[in-house]
């Protein structure tokens, strides 16, 4: 890239040059659309001709062996990793490959990381405050004040994620599972159109799993949800449509029953007795 | 007894300049000790007040103020770099102090409150160039210096001087390097090819302090010997040589007003005293030390003459005071607050000393305002009444140059 292009790179810092944000256009079908995406790391093909479509309001489970490329796929959608080839569209208007992470996030794509990632030096409450869907530009953020309705909303979410008692504790001291919940809470605060949830129930008890399942199912319809999970019990409890990734591409897709009876899926993923 | 006379010592004891300045602090302490042993002056003892301005220029001003305002010293001996002097100058002028500045410098200054006991350019640079031109037959010149005001000014003066003497512009090469420059490969190689054009070439070095060791090393290693391309330095003295393996440098030159090897009894006594004071058999003396020696003795004489340490009285009394220097002659304080000095050219020897190869037939009076700079050609300084002016313009007959003449002058 020439120096000039570098400076002219539109979607970086110049405020007045950033594309005007417009609502997601889902009149013509899916909310998320990946076509022929390829990624390789030092020659290793992590994503291989991946095609995937998520409909508006859908709850989709994605399963697949370790290293199938599930997390990498999320990295691509959220702008963290740039694919070598392919296209990724959010609705029919937004080409995600031309945007950076904050832009994608403000379009309404929220994400929970596989390894829970929260702001450890801030309190639980502040973590949620920052996640809240508000004007995130500099000056408005500087002048932002804590309105009562915000507080209510945060308290609501604290209730949902069961961290009410820890609201003024630093997030850094939370246990693994508690961090998972906090991150889910941050996702809720964000009110995204599309939630990407990477292994939400890892480290949760059965009962918490149930709660998570309820939560995610209740979101579906209003919001679209993509869940990656290895816990088959959990997947079964929420699944409508399941996609199986293997070696960077779709191996099977269909209802839970269809998929779990697919011999290929059993061989590479579920194992004989699952 | 009466209160002691307080002598402020304002030399860096830490930081980059500590290398050069610490010995000057020790020198003044030694001189004070000796004076006290001889009964002090006016029946009063002397007391040193030492502070460390830590090679930090604003700190120099602050410490000067501390010495004058808090400690109420009667006189200050201090500074090495010109920038530290410039920083201190407004303070000593404001608080009407006395400062003895012992280092060769670029000139272009004469303050009512400062006594310049180091060399002005006409007491070092010009005679050295004359020597090279007349005695060595140098026709091509490399003016190499550290990029700060002393080398800049000195080289400006020398350039004008050389051109006046008929040296062509392409026979002068000017090169500036940053402080502490350590990689001289390219520059030495350039000097080498500049010097291989057939004409006798010499380097006039105003390279400062730490940069000299790697410079001379590189000269030696690239095989430039004193008989090919001699280097005459204005900032390399015995102190600097004590950090260099002088074997390969024999024959390179320095111009000063004093060398430790000078064959005079005053000098030998001074050296004995210095060695006794430091307890180091290898301790060396150098030119700025001599400058402090002279300055200190002048101050004592002036106090005796004035009969008081009152600053204005001492200022008055000191002009015309004459004391022995260490080279067997006398130094006199001139009305422009500079002193008379002999100019010596020395060659580096393998024992880290210089051997004097040439000296001016008589002493030279320091010139505050150079004759080779357009702005100052007409200026003189004279701190005797009634003139009492550091910037007297002989063309206009007024104290302080005025704008009109300046413009005419620079065209």
């Amino acid at each position: 890239m020439s120096l000039f292009e570098e400076f002219a790179n539109r979607d970086r810092v110049f405020e007045f040059l950033t594309p005007v944000e417009s609502p997601v256009d889902v009149r013509h079908g899916p909310i998320l659309y990946l076509e022929d995406v390829n990624v390789s790391f030092d020659g290793f093909k992590a994503i291989n001709n991946l095609n995937l479509t998520i409909d508006d309001g859908e709850l989709r489970c994605i399963i697949g062996p370790n290293g199938a490329g599930k997390t990498t796929m999320m990295d691509i959608i959220t702008g963290k990793t740039a694919p070598d080839t392919g296209s990724v569209w959010f609705g029919s208007r937004h080409n995600l490959l031309r945007m950076n992470e904050p832009e994608i996030a403000s379009l309404g794509i929220g994400r929970k990381f596989q390894k829970p990632t929260v702001f450890e030096a801030l309190t639980v409450f502040e973590n949620l405050e920052l996640a809240m869907a508000t004007d995130k530009r500099i000056i408005p953020t500087l002048r932002a004040i804590m309105r009562p309705e915000y507080r209510e909303r945060i308290d609501e979410v604290l209730e949902t994620i069961g961290l009410k008692d820890l609201r003024d504790n630093l997030a850094g001291i939370l246990s693994h599972g508690q961090k998972q919940w906090l991150e889910i809470g941050m996702l809720l605060m964000q009110k995204p159109r599309l939630l990407l949830v990477d292994e939400p129930v890892a480290g949760m008890t059965e009962q918490e799993m149930e709660r998570t399942a309820e939560l995610l199912t209740s979101l579906a319809g209003k919001q679209s949800v993509v869940v990656v999970e290895h816990d088959m019990g959990f997947v079964r409890s929420i699944a409508r449509k399941v996609t199986v990734l293997h070696q960077g591409s779709v191996l099977a897709e269909g209802s839970m029953d269809q998929v779990s009876n697919d011999p290929e899926v059993i061989k590479v993923y579920l194992g004989e007795e699952a | 007894a009466e209160d002691p006379i307080k002598v402020g010592i304002l030399h860096s004891l830490s930081g980059t300049m500590a290398i050069s300045e610490t010995v000057l602090k020790d020198t003044v302490e030694m001189l004070i000790e000796k004076q006290n042993a001889e009964g002090g002056v006016l029946g009063r003892q002397l007391e040193a007040v030492v502070v460390d301005p830590a090679s930090n220029w604003p700190l120099f001003a602050e410490k000067a103020r501390e010495l004058l305002a808090q400690e109420e010293v009667d006189v200050i001996f201090g500074n090495w770099t010109s920038v530290s002097r410039k920083s201190v100058l407004p303070v000593v002028e404001e608080l009407n102090g006395l400062l003895f500045y012992p280092v060769q410098y670029e000139g272009e200054e004469s303050s009512e409150n400062v006594f310049y006991t180091g060399a002005a350019p006409n007491q070092q640079a010009i005679p050295a160039v004359n020597y090279l031109m007349n005695n060595i037959g140098v026709e091509r010149w490399v003016l190499a210096g550290t990029d700060y005001v002393y080398p800049r000014t000195t080289n400006k003066i020398l350039e004008t001087y050389l051109m006046d003497m008929g040296v062509a512009k392409e026979d002068i090469m000017i090169n500036y390097t940053p402080f502490g420059h350590s990689d001289w490969q390219n520059i030495v190689s350039d000097i080498k090819s500049f010097g291989s054009a057939g004409k006798k070439t010499a380097v006039v070095s105003t390279i400062n302090g730490d940069a000299n060791v790697p410079f001379y090393r590189e000269l030696g290693n690239q095989g430039i010997s004193a008989s090919d391309i001699p280097v005459v330095a204005f900032s390399v003295g015995e102190q600097e040589l004590s950090g260099i393996d002088t074997g390969p440098l024999v024959g390179h030159l320095a111009a000063w007003n004093y060398f430790m090897s000078v064959d005079s009894d005053a000098n030998y006594d001074f050296i004995d005293q210095w060695i006794a004071h430091t307890g180091d058999e290898e301790a060396v003396t150098n030119d700025p030390m001599e400058a402090h020696y002279i300055g200190f003795n002048m101050y004592i004489e002036a106090v005796k003459k004035a009969g008081t340490t009152d600053v204005d009285a001492v200022k008055d009394a000191i002009i015309g005071v004459t004391v022995p220097n260490l080279t067997g002659g006398y130094a006199a304080m001139m009305p422009n607050h500079h002193i008379t000095k002999p100019v010596l050219i020395g060659e580096i020897q393998d024992n880290g000393q210089f051997s004097v190869v040439w000296e001016t037939p008589s002493t030279v009076a320091g010139d505050a305002w150079s004759d080779y700079l357009p702005g100052s050609r007409d200026m003189i300084a004279d701190w005797r009444k009634p003139m009492f002016c550091g910037t007297f313009n002989t063309a206009t007959g007024k104290c302080g140059a005025s704008a009109g003449e300046m413009a005419a002058e620079s065209n």
């Binding site: 290293g67 194992g271 699952a274 | -």
Partner: protein, 232 residues
């Protein structure tokens, strides 16, 4: 094999483990269960020495008082540790990650036991890739493999199935059983997933708010206990 007695631990001011008692019988798999944040991981860290205990004792192999041992020496005694969150060395290659444990081995072998690669073939395949580049599940396998390199007598597994594909979870369970049965390994397992625990553990202990509140043979793990202690 491991006998924990009246263990108390604090994070700064907050009392996390309260007079905790736990018995891990030799050659068996003991599973510690409990809700999030009750202190399971903390307990494991105390055993490994990553957290200091305030009072109480941890007795290993009948005669060694662990609380008096340095962290480094605990692995030398034969304790392998698979921490929660994997904790692999991200910039070391897979092979180097495994080699780290070699120094502790009693036999002084300089070679990674072939067995590890048999258990987790993916590690062999990726042995020159840096640990941090692996997928989550691959890292978990690496962490287990790494703990096995030292051929431990006691293996501590903190939620080992987390993020691993089902067939490998099963496989890990089987490996654990095999090691218990063939080599007489003792296993201390932290696990939330009931089916897994039921299938592979011999004993269980339930923790709540830093205390041990129930325990016994795995068969005794009743729905009632579960309801009482494992649901919110």
């Amino acid at each position: 094999m491991l006998k924990i007695d009246k263990l108390n631990q604090f994070y700064g001011e907050s009392h996390t483990l309260w007079d905790l008692e736990l018995d891990v019988p030799q050659g068996k798999c003991t599973c510690v269960m409990g809700r999030n944040g009750v202190g399971k991981t903390t307990l494991m860290k105390c055993v490994m020495g990553e957290e200091t205990v305030k009072s109480g004792s941890i007795e290993f192999a009948g005669d060694v008082e662990l609380t008096k041992k340095k962290v480094e020496d605990r692995s030398r005694l034969g304790i392998g540790y698979v921490p929660q969150g994997r904790q692999i060395f991200p910039l070391l290659t897979v092979e180097e990650n495994l080699r780290v444990g070699l120094a502790v081995r009693k036999d002084g072998s300089k070679k990674i036991p072939e067995r590890i690669y048999e258990l987790f073939p993916v590690l062999k395949e990726m042995k020159n890739r840096r640990g941090g580049d692996l997928s989550g599940g691959q890292q978990q396998q690496l962490a287990i493999g790494r703990a096995l390199v030292i051929e431990p007598r006691l293996l501590i597994l903190d939620e080992p199935g987390e993020g691993i594909q089902p067939n490998i979870v099963t496989q890990i369970g089987e490996v654990i059983r095999r090691l218990i049965e063939e080599d007489g390994l003792t296993v201390l397992l932290v696990e939330q997933k009931l089916p897994f625990a039921r299938k592979f553990a011999d004993h269980f202990a339930i923790m709540d708010r830093g205390r041990r509140v129930a325990g016994g043979e795995i068969g005794e793990l009743s729905d009632q206990l579960i309801k009482k202690h494992l649901t919110v």
